[in-house]
């Protein structure tokens, strides 16, 4: 079995790439992609800890499934907001959409 810390390191690298995408990219859709990467890193952590520490219960898998559902909801609402903002401002650059009212 591959040891636990390798899974955790993989998740850490994935999470940090996601963080960088969220913080640095200009395009709002790219920022949402970064959030998806971060959520996936968290899911790897949840499932890895479940497999290594409590494989006989359902905690980790159930939590990972809930995270997936929340991620799907987040993607749907986030992209809807981006499309609404694009229709209004003709732009998806986050820095140009700094005001809520306009």
């Amino acid at each position: 079995m591959v040891p636990l810390y390798l899974y955790l390191l993989l998740a850490a690298v994935l999470f940090c790439i996601g963080t960088y995408v969220v913080l640095a990219r200009k395009n709002a859709v790219a920022v949402l992609m970064g959030v998806e990467l971060m959520l996936n890193a968290v899911n790897i952590n949840l499932v890895a800890f479940w497999r290594f520490d409590t494989p006989s219960t359902m905690m980790g898998q159930a939590f990972a499934a809930f995270v997936m559902v929340v991620a799907a909801a987040e993607a749907a609402v986030g992209l809807a907001i981006i499309i609404a903002v694009y229709r209004f401002r003709k732009s998806v650059v986050i820095e140009e959409v700094a005001e809520l009212k306009g």
Partner: protein, 174 residues
């Protein structure tokens, strides 16, 4: 880590996952970025298989690559004029890079420090090879003593989010 089929598969899926993530971070064309995202999510599905969670892997393929990936691709195409942006990153990108690198350093130290005791992050083998199956997951999600309330709440959340997305994205005809 000895060399066997499992470790080779782990390395391959790790490379797929990290490579896809780097593709998301570095590509100029966001349509390609969404495909890179799907590649990365596929790698995560492979990791789930290695962690003996086949149901989550299937859900990962269906929900993430099938639904979220397509959704993001459509969003990129609907906001088409911005897909070939000249400047990829904002002006403070080096600050973001430093923050991410610092976070990575902290996480790596946190994982590798031997302070979590036996069964902590340095555990080489699982506590048991008796793994709960998909049947157990299905039972747990509808068991009154386990996850039926969170399951119902999350269903409600998803329905509300979908209705909200439709309302937000709908064109207003006044």
């Amino acid at each position: 880590m000895e060399l066997n089929a499992q470790s080779i598969a782990f390395v391959v899926f790790s490379i797929i996952t990290i490579g896809g993530a780097i593709g998301v971070a570095a590509t100029h064309n966001l349509v390609r970025g969404s495909y890179w995202l799907m590649v990365s999510l596929f790698g995560v599905a492979g990791i789930f298989v290695l962690l003996s969670a086949p149901f989550l892997a299937a859900v990962q393929i269906l929900v993430y690559i099938g639904a979220v990936g397509i959704l993001i691709t459509f969003a990129v195409m609907l906001t088409r004029s911005m897909t070939n942006m000249r400047e990829l990153f904002n002006q403070q990108w080096w600050l973001s890079a430093a923050a991410s690198a610092l976070l990575l350093l902290m996480l790596v130290i946190g994982v590798l420090l031997p302070v979590w005791g036996p069964g902590g992050t340095l555990a080489g083998n699982p506590v048991s090879d008796q793994v709960a199956t998909t049947v157990d997951l299905g039972r747990a999600l509808v068991d009154g003593n386990q996850y039926v309330i969170p399951f119902e709440v999350i269903s409600l959340l998803l329905t509300a989010a979908m209705i909200g997305a439709i309302v937000i994205a709908r064109e207003q005809h006044d």
